[in-house]
Amino acid sequence: MNSVRTKNSARRAGFAAIGLACALLAAGAAFALDAPVDAHGQLQDPALEARYESISKQLRCLVCQNESIADSNAQLAGDLRRQVREMLVAGKTDSEIFDFMTARYGEFVRFNTPVEGKTLLIWGSPFLLLVVGAIVVFRVTRARSRMSLDDEPSHGPA
C-alpha cells in the first residue's frame, strides 16, 4: 500500500515535471518569437541586421583600438554592440547612433572620419600634397628646359 502510494506520487511528480518543462519550452518559444534578437544575438529583421553589421564595423573598440566593435571580444565592444542593437530596434537612424557614440567617445570611435571643418586637413592633405608636388615638378622641368635651351648654342657648331 505504502509502496503504491510512493509510486503514484513519484509518477505524479514526474508528470508535473514534464508539464513544467513543456510550459517553459512554450514560454521560451513565445519569447523567441517576440524578441527582436534571436538566440545567436542576431536581429530578427534582416534589414536591421544588415544595418547593425555595417554600423558595428564602422565603430572602433576603444579597448583594443585597432579593432571594430564587430571584431572585438572585449567586454566594452559587446556592450556597445548591445547598445547599437537596442538603438536600431528603437528605430534610431544610423547617424543618431553615430552621434550617440561620438558624444561619449569622441571622433576617434568612428573608423570613417566624417568630412567636417576640423577634419578638412586630414581629407584634403593628399590633394594638397598633389598640388604642391605638381608645382615643384612643373618648376623643375621648366627650369631644366630653359637651362638646356640656354646651353644649346654652346653645344652646337659656332
Binding site: V63, Y105, G106
Partner: protein, 179 residues
C-alpha cells in the same frame, strides 16, 4: 634664400610633429574626452553596498566632486586603491565610485578587505552609465564642478602626484568660480 628657408621650415615642422608624437611620456591610448565642458551625465543606480539604496550624482549638485570608474576585475584599480584611500582621508571632495561590469558580492568583499574610499559606490552591472560617461578602460577619474560640468578626466591609476598637480588646483579654481 628661399631655397634654403622653405626646406628648413618644412624640416622644423617635422621636428615639432616628431617631438609631440614620439614623446615617451605621452599615453597614446589616452583619448581626449568629448565630455569636458559638457554637463555630467546624470545617473541613478543602486548602492553597491546596499541594493535598497540608490546613488545618484544629482544629489551632489552644486558641489565639486570626483567620479572614479572602477571594477574588481581591473588590476590597475587595485594599484590605485591606496591613493584613493589617502585622498579620501584628506576629505577635500566627495568621491563617487562608479563600479561597472561587476558582481555585487565581489565588490562588497573588495571594499571590506581593502577599505572604502568612496562617499558612495554606484553599481552599474551592465555598463550603461559607464558608456554614458564614455568610460573605456578602468580606472578613469572625472572631476565635476559646481555647475555640474565635467572639467577634467584622468585615465590611468591616480597617484598622489597627479592628484596634487592636476586635481587640487582645478578643484580650487572650480570652487572660486562657483562661489
Amino acid at each position: 634664400m628661399w631655397k634654403f628657408l622653405v626646406p628648413m621650415a618644412l624640416f622644423l615642422g617635422l621636428v615639432v610633429f616628431f617631438v609631440l608624437g614620439l614623446n615617451p611620456n605621452r599615453d597614446i591610448k589616452a583619448l581626449p574626452s568629448p565630455l569636458i565642458g559638457k554637463p555630467a551625465p546624470v545617473f541613478s543606480l543602486t548602492d553597491a553596498l546596499d541594493p535598497t539604496k540608490t546613488v545618484s550624482n544629482a544629489s551632489f549638485k552644486g558641489q565639486v566632486y570626483v567620479l572614479n570608474a572602477w571594477g574588481t576585475w581591473c588590476i590597475p584599480c587595485r594599484e590605485e586603491q591606496d591613493t584613493l584611500l589617502t585622498i579620501a582621508k584628506q576629505g577635500v571632495v566627495p568621491i563617487i565610485g562608479l563600479n561597472y561590469n561587476d558582481d555585487r558580492a565581489r565588490v562588497q568583499r573588495w571594499l571590506q578587505q581593502l577599505g572604502n574610499p568612496y562617499t558612495a559606490v554606484a553599481f552599474d552591472p551592465d555598463e550603461r552609465t559607464a558608456i554614458d560617461w564614455g568610460v573605456y578602460g578602468a580606472p578613469e577619474t572625472f572631476l565635476v564642478d559646481t555647475h555640474g560640468q565635467v572639467i577634467f578626466k584622468y585615465i590611468s591609476p591616480l597617484t598622489l602626484e597627479v592628484w596634487e598637480k592636476e586635481f587640487l588646483p582645478r578643484i580650487e579654481a572650480a570652487r572660486r568660480s562657483g562661489a
